[in-house]
Every structure is written in structure tokens, then in C-alpha cells.
Symmetry: C2
């Protein structure tokens, strides 16, 4: 079954009914998907400020009202308790459960944050004829913890996580142009070339996702990654944090093209 | 005395010593100046979320730690209690005092927000040869309340304020290109042409600032304006809010060019 041409509300209905329980890459082509992080209200200001100070890894698309699971700006008919195929519950920084809905977990002091995701810029890259290696090879994008410290905010601090796509230099230049147009979904890369320069010891053993093959004549190009806030939150060990499971994103009603400034 | 070539720290020292007590336009050419809003901590989350949801009128450059007057990211050697020439104190939405420092007013539950300012995009417009009418005619930019509702957040809600610059159509197009490159300081205009379409009844009587002459063959071009949050806060009537006086901005250490994405 091909869900590429579903509308976001159709896809979310199928997810809510348990009929889609796969990674969401390739579902609802053209619509922005989002990383999600849910935190108790008493951490919400620090976390929002952390995102504001670290816009490249943490591009905020929507923040729910305290206690409301409805993302009013990005999908007013959705419910974040049910409309993601798979969730992870973290207590004190440890993942304790992976679940398919949050009925048992949602409380009225929670705030949900939706953060932009690299699917939004991969789509215009593909349309422009660039190869995106992990899509060609059908695996999850490789992600790495770096030695680049995020700007701390309140209790939140820690290193930036990056995603990597191998490219020929001319394609890397074009990819920089394309992602520059999308400053609200990670924007331009933060590094290219030598992985060691940003603290990556072994490019073949990513910290998250799967290894991408780097061909002769290609350089690795690194973008700030939406996994950063999850990685940071693990460091901070809040009593409770809920996220989507990697690759199982929230599908918004926002066309990717609306996230580009040109 | 020409302060155009001062460094930001030199200018702030002169301001702190009371030796500069004039509007800051034209001081420290090339460096970003900022609108400032200070609010009690219990309103800080709502206000930060309001800014996040209304990025065009409210582009956050820096937020201080609760109780700290030091803008660590944009001017770590500055002190927001002393380094702006003129401040306004608002109680319950009414301006009660205009003062030259905040020694008597600062308390340890306050949070200061620095928001981007249109000086940052006027500078590249001038460098590109565009005329900016209120600079030519040496008066404050005209600003208008519109009928465009900001996206509300918590207690904050109300209409967007815009600034207006008259331009020939070809110059307006160029100005759109230039400001598109600066999505973190108001970005592209939100309207051009008919003022009535955004609820402006009389273009010759701005709500803030002073009237600009619109010449034959020119159209008004409207940008989201950093006065919006002040106008909104007046609507919300918080117990205490402190701002800079109009035109008396905070001078940061950030070159304007760093606020452009290209």
C-alpha cells in the first residue's frame, strides 16, 4: 500500500486506527513531518528557550497549550496522544516503554513541542535531482553526537547531534543553497568534510540511525539534527519525557514548501 | 559628534555614563540594534511562546536568565539596566515613567527579551542603493496597527503593528529580496499596496512614529514591526513591563551581516 498521496488527515486517521504502524518516511509526500517532545509544564520555558537559542537543531513548528494534546497551528484536527504510530516514554532519562498511544500517559500538566524534521529539506533536494544516499539505499539517516556544545538554557545543555549525507562537492554546494532557503527546518549545513573536526571519531559507526556509504570523490555534509533535543533531554534526565519513536514522525498539515522562505 | 564608527562597547559605555542620550539610529554602523521588553518571570513563557508563534513581528535575539540583566548571547559585557539611553516603565498597561536607568526598577524575578529591529535590514537596503524615505527625510519610521491578528499565546493576543516604507515597484521587489535574506529580523514584507487591505484607514496618520511622504509612482511596503509586542503588552496590561523608549534601542555586539542567512 502506497500512502504517498494520502492527505495528512487521512494518514493520521489510519495511524490512529492502528492501520499504519511503520516509519512515516514517504507518507503524505509534500507535507512537513515533525519530531515531537512532550515535557511537564515546569520544564517548558527552559525547553522553549533552549530551542530558541539553538534554532538549527531545534526548529519549533508548534507548541501546544498546557494540558492540550491538539497542535492548533500545524494540525488543528489532530490529537498528539493517538496520531503518531509509535511513542517512547522516558523516565529519568531511561526509555521505559514503547507504546502506540498516550491515553494512559497524558496528563493536564504536559506541553508538546513539534520540531521540524529533515524530511522537509530532503524532498526539495530529490526534486532538484540530488541523490540522498540513505533514501537510495533505503535505510535510516546516520546521526552523530558532536563536540559542538548547544547554547544552554536553564536545565538543558549538551552537544549537538547532526545528520550526515554524503555528496559530491558540486551537489553539496547545491544542497547548501536549497537548505539555506529553509531556515526554519534546520537550514544550511553546520559542517562539511573532516568528521573529526566536529568530534566524530568514526563516520562508519553513527550514534543513531544507520551507516551511509561514502563513495569515492564524495564528502560528508552535516546538518543540525532534530534528535538533538531528545539527546539533550536524556542528559538532563527529567522525571518524564515522551517522544516519537525514531522514524515514526508526526504528520502535519503544513506543505513543506510553506517552510521555505523562497 | 559622529558615533557611527564606535564599537558597541564604546557606545554602551558612553550611554551608561549619560554622554549619549539621543535616538540610536546611526550609532555603531553595521551592528544590530534591538527592541527590549522586560517582564516578570510568570509571564515569560507566554511571551516567549508569543514571539515564537509570531516570528515576523517578534524576532527573538536574546533572552536573559531570570533575574540577570546580562544579555549573554548578544552582548556579554553589557548590562540592560544601564546601557539603553532611555527606558519606559508601564504599569497595568499605562506608561508611568520615562527613565535613563533601571537601578531602582530591576528585581530578581525579571526576564529581558531582546528582539530584532528594522535598522538591521535598512542598512543592507541603503548599501544596495535603495532609498529609505524616513532616513532621507530624517524622521522616525511610520508604524500602524493593522487588522492582522497575531497568533495568541497564553495571555498575549492582539493585532500586528507594521512599519511602512514607500518605494517604486522595482525597488520594492529588490527590498523583498534583501529582507528575505534576513528571516530572523522581520524577514520579507507582509503586505504591499492598498493600506486598507490590512486595516489601515489613513496612511498619513501613523499610530506610532511619523508620516512618510509617498511620491508619485510609489507604493507603500509594509514590514512586521518590533513595536508589536509592546502594543500587545499594552492590551494585556501586565502589572509591570519595561521597554526601551521608541528609537532608543539596545546596541548589540552582533554584526547585521550575521543576521542574514546569505
Amino acid at each position: 500500500m502506497n500512502y504517498g498521496n494520502c492527505t495528512p488527515s487521512q494518514a493520521r486517521k489510519l495511524i490512529r486506527e492502528g492501520k499504519i504502524n511503520v516509519p512515516t518516511s514517504g507518507i503524505c509526500n509534500g507535507y512537513a513531518q515533525a519530531n515531537m517532545a512532550i515535557l511537564p509544564k515546569d520544564l517548558a520555558f527552559d525547553f522553549l528557550l533552549f530551542c530558541q537559542r539553538n534554532k538549527k537543531p531545534c526548529p519549533v513548528l508548534d507548541v501546544t497549550e498546557v494540558g492540550s494534546p491538539i497542535p492548533r497551528l500545524t494540525a488543528p484536527n489532530a490529537d498528539l496522544r493517538y496520531d503518531i504510530p509509535r511513542y517512547r516514554i522516558y523516565r529519568h532519562g531511561e526509555m521505559t516503554e514503547e507504546v502506540t498511544d498516550l491515553a494512559k500517559y497524558w496528563t493536564d500538566d504536559l506541553v508538546a513541542f513539534l520540531l521540524g524534521c529533515s524530511f522537509s529539506f530532503e524532498s526539495p533536494m530529490l526534486e532538484d535531482g540530488l541523490e540522498v544516499r540513505h533514501i537510495t539505499d533505503n535505510h535510516n539517516v546516520p546521526m552523530y553526537r558532536t563536540n559542538i556544545e548547544c547554547v544552554p538554557a536553564g536545565v538543558f545543555h549538551g552537544p549537538m547531534v547532526v545528520s550526515m549525507r554524503p555528496m559530491k562537492p558540486a551537489d553539496a554546494i547545491r544542497a547548501i543553497q536549497i537548505t539555506t532557503r529553509m531556515p526554519f527546518v534546520h537550514g544550511a549545513p553546520i559542517h562539511l568534510g573532516d568528521p573529526a573536526a566536529i568530534g566524530i571519531k568514526n563516520i562508519d559507526t553513527p550514534d543513531f540511525g544507520e551507516r551511509s556509504e561514502i563513495h569515492e570523490g564524495e564528502i560528508p555534509v552535516f546538518w543540525a539534527c532534530g534528535v538533538t533535543p531528545q539527546s539533550i533531554a536524556m542528559t538532563v534526565k527529567p522525571d518524564l519525557m515522551i517522544t516519537h519513536a525514531p522514524g515514526y514522525m508526526f504528520i502535519t498539515d503544513i506543505p513543506n514548501s510553506k517552510l521555505a522562505i523562497m
